[in-house]
């Protein structure tokens, strides 16, 4: 087990280092990152001054090492547009995206797990096939379309729910549904496979032989065992939800990090964009690691290892 943990932590660190390097390379693809940080009307002298002040005139390797050094101290830099530390700007938006992601996760689990269970229990029947199509339809929904349809129906036509911003407690409902419908598919598929795996096991036959009805056997035994792998993918889906927030937050004017990223691109404030990408990617790597460790902890066969 300690070896397994050390190996996984090492892997996560390598992936995180890779992410930092990829983002560095991408920001330097344009040739001169200074141009990504100044307003379009900046003069050549201003640009040159800033280039020197930020060290973009130094050799690439020196820039790379300085960038890694800064991030190692959790220093995300100063936003030249908002004249504030990037970390402060980012931190102010994170709670909104977390709220949206958790609400969307609730929608995805609430719809995905029952769908997955039904698909497994009704396996081979037309109802299961229909459900499979419905689940895939959810995955094929462009969030910016479903988002606008939800706004049209519940905001404009019925007037039941707020359609933009985060001013009232019910504001999160529509964006969470739009985001959750896409994520539902992952849970439904995983739950179906986990249920089918468990349904074929001897203990189910034993429970039936003891006289338990199929429904009771599923409720009492199968669901509990099938839930284990599904709990762990919930951690992974959080990463997808954070990324999906970019479009959903734009549609609903939800003031989270996705909207922040798009606003910062429009304002040419790339240090903030970089911070959003790094934050989401590192959260994803962290969640991945947690999911793996949790899985190993739950399942003794992995815990003891070979």
């Amino acid at each position: 087990m300690p070896r397994h943990i050390a190996g996984r932590v090492g892997q996560a660190l390598v992936a995180a280092f890779g992410v930092l390097s990829i983002v560095f390379v991408v920001l330097h693809l344009s040739g001169d990152p200074t141009l990504l940080l100044v307003p379009p009307d900046a003069s050549a002298a201003q640009i040159a001054e800033l280039r020197h002040a930020l060290g973009f005139d130094r050799p690439l390797l020196a820039q790379y090492l300085a960038y890694l050094g800064q991030l190692a101290h959790f220093d995300l830099g100063q936003s030249l547009v908002q004249r504030a530390p990037v970390a402060v700007i980012l931190a102010a938006r994170i709670p909104y995206t977390v709220e949206l992601a958790l609400a969307a996760l609730a929608v995805a689990i609430g719809l995905g797990l029952p769908a997955g269970i039904a698909m497994a229990v009704w396996r081979g029947r037309p109802a299961a096939r229909l459900l499979a199509v419905v689940v895939l339809a959810g995955q094929s929904l462009p969030t910016f379309w479903s988002g606008i349809l939800l706004i049209l129906l519940f905001g404009v036509t019925l007037g039941w729910l707020p359609t933009s911003g985060a001013d009232s407690a019910s504001s999160v409902i529509l964006p969470a549904v739009a985001l959750g419908l896409v994520t539902m598919a992952g849970f439904a598929r995983m739950m179906r496979i986990a249920m089918l795996d468990e349904l074929g096991r001897d203990y189910v036959a034993a429970a039936r032989a003891r006289g338990l009805s199929r429904g009771a056997a599923i409720l009492r035994h199968v669901l509990r065992n099938a839930a284990i792998p599904v709990v762990t993918i919930a951690a992974l889906e959080i990463g997808n939800l954070l990324a999906g927030a970019v479009i959903v937050e734009t549609v609903f004017a939800w003031p989270g990090i996705g909207q922040l990223a798009m606003q910062s691109i429009a304002a040419r404030d790339f240090l903030v964009v970089q911070a959003v990408v790094l934050f989401v990617s590192l959260v994803y790597i962290g969640m991945n690691l947690l999911a793996d460790l949790a899985y190993a902890w739950i399942d003794p066969r992995i815990r003891r290892g070979p």
């Binding site: 892997q11 390598v14 992936a15 995180a16 280092f17 890779g18 992410v19 390097s21 990829i22 983002v23 991408v26 920001l27 693809l29 344009s30 990504l36 499979a132 199509v133 895939l136 339809a137 995955q139 094929s140 929904l141 462009p142 969030t143 910016f144 379309w145 606008i148 349809l149 706004i151 049209l152 404009v156 496979i193 089918l196 990463g239 997808n240 954070l242 990324a243 999906g244 970019v246 479009i247 734009t250 549609v251 990223a261 798009m262 691109i265 790339f270 964009v273 970089q274 959003v276 990408v277 989401v280 990617s281 994803y284 790597i285 991945n288």
Partner: protein, 276 residues
């Protein structure tokens, strides 16, 4: 080979319909998709004016929505097909290489794959397009070069399996050059799983193109793209629902057809996944 079930034939027909629409757009579109008419702004579907009959209505600049949708299929399919081609080629090659050579190339490539897959794809695409600026070629390259890792993982795992088979040893002993073994003997044997990945990626790339265009980072106006039509229509959602509902419906139908076909293909090529 069994005949595909009717539902699959229907999906293929839908997909073919979209392809024909994209290829023959100038013949099928009733009007010039760029022609503006201030007198015919935001007209609902079915409006008949002196200028003509607008089956799906007009947009905020008085352009015919149906014609713009037909031309928009071009952007969708061209970007998706080209970027899938780029990522399929790049990803398969890197996967073959790391599975065959092992050693350092395996370590470097597979760790890079882990890192790439840790950055949510849409964010990486948004960042890269924002840095490089918009444009068709750039969009294809960005999508193609950010989406190769999934192919690499599959190609790598499959190459490891196939390379251990006796016939590869036989080819080696017969004096076959390595690139010939890779391309002639291994690639055809791992093409099935790569094709399954490519199909699911194709649906995703259609969504990515539309999403990036919706965010203003993809196909630039006035060239019609379903994503940018919807983005413009969002400002008029209460007054002109047709500007967002129709392009979204086309997008949804196309992506759903591709995804359902992909599912069917996967079950055909990997019977285990169907019986599970």
């Amino acid at each position: 080979m069994r005949r595909p079930p009717p539902a699959i034939l229907l999906l293929l027909a839908i997909l073919a319909g979209f392809v024909v629409m994209a290829l023959a757009a100038p013949l099928l579109a009733p009007y010039d998709p760029l022609h503006q008419s201030l007198l015919a702004r935001l007209r609902p579907p079915g409006t008949a004016l002196r200028a003509g009959r607008f089956l799906l209505g007009t947009d905020d600049l008085g352009r015919d929505l149906l014609s713009r949708l037909i031309f928009g299929a071009r952007a969708s399919l061209a970007v998706a097909a080209s970027s899938v081609a780029v990522s399929l080629a790049t990803g398969s090659l890197l996967g073959l290489l790391s599975g065959w050579r092992r050693g350092w190339s395996e370590i470097v490539i597979m760790r890079l794959v882990d890192s790439m897959l840790s950055i949510p794809a849409i964010l990486l695409a948004v960042l890269t397009v924002a840095v490089l600026g918009p444009g068709f070629v750039k969009l294809v390259l960005v999508l193609g070069l950010t989406r190769w890792p999934r192919y690499t993982r599959v190609a790598y795992a499959q190459t490891l399996q196939v390379a251990a088979l006796p016939y590869i040893r036989a080819a080696e002993m017969a004096g076959c050059r390595p690139w010939r073994i890779l391309l002639r003997h291994i690639l055809p044997n791992i093409a099935g799983p790569l094709l399954v990945v490519a199909t699911s990626e194709f649906g995703l790339m259609i969504l990515f193109e539309a999403g990036l265009s919706f965010l203003g980072l993809g196909i630039q106006p006035p060239t019609p793209s379903w994503g940018s039509i919807m983005s413009a229509g969002r400002d008029y959602v209460a007054r002109a629902w047709w500007l967002t509902v129709f392009p979204g419906a086309a997008l949804f139908l196309l992506v759903l057809s591709v995804n359902l076909l992909g599912d069917w293909l996967r079950d055909r090529l990997d019977p285990r996944s169907a019986t599970r």
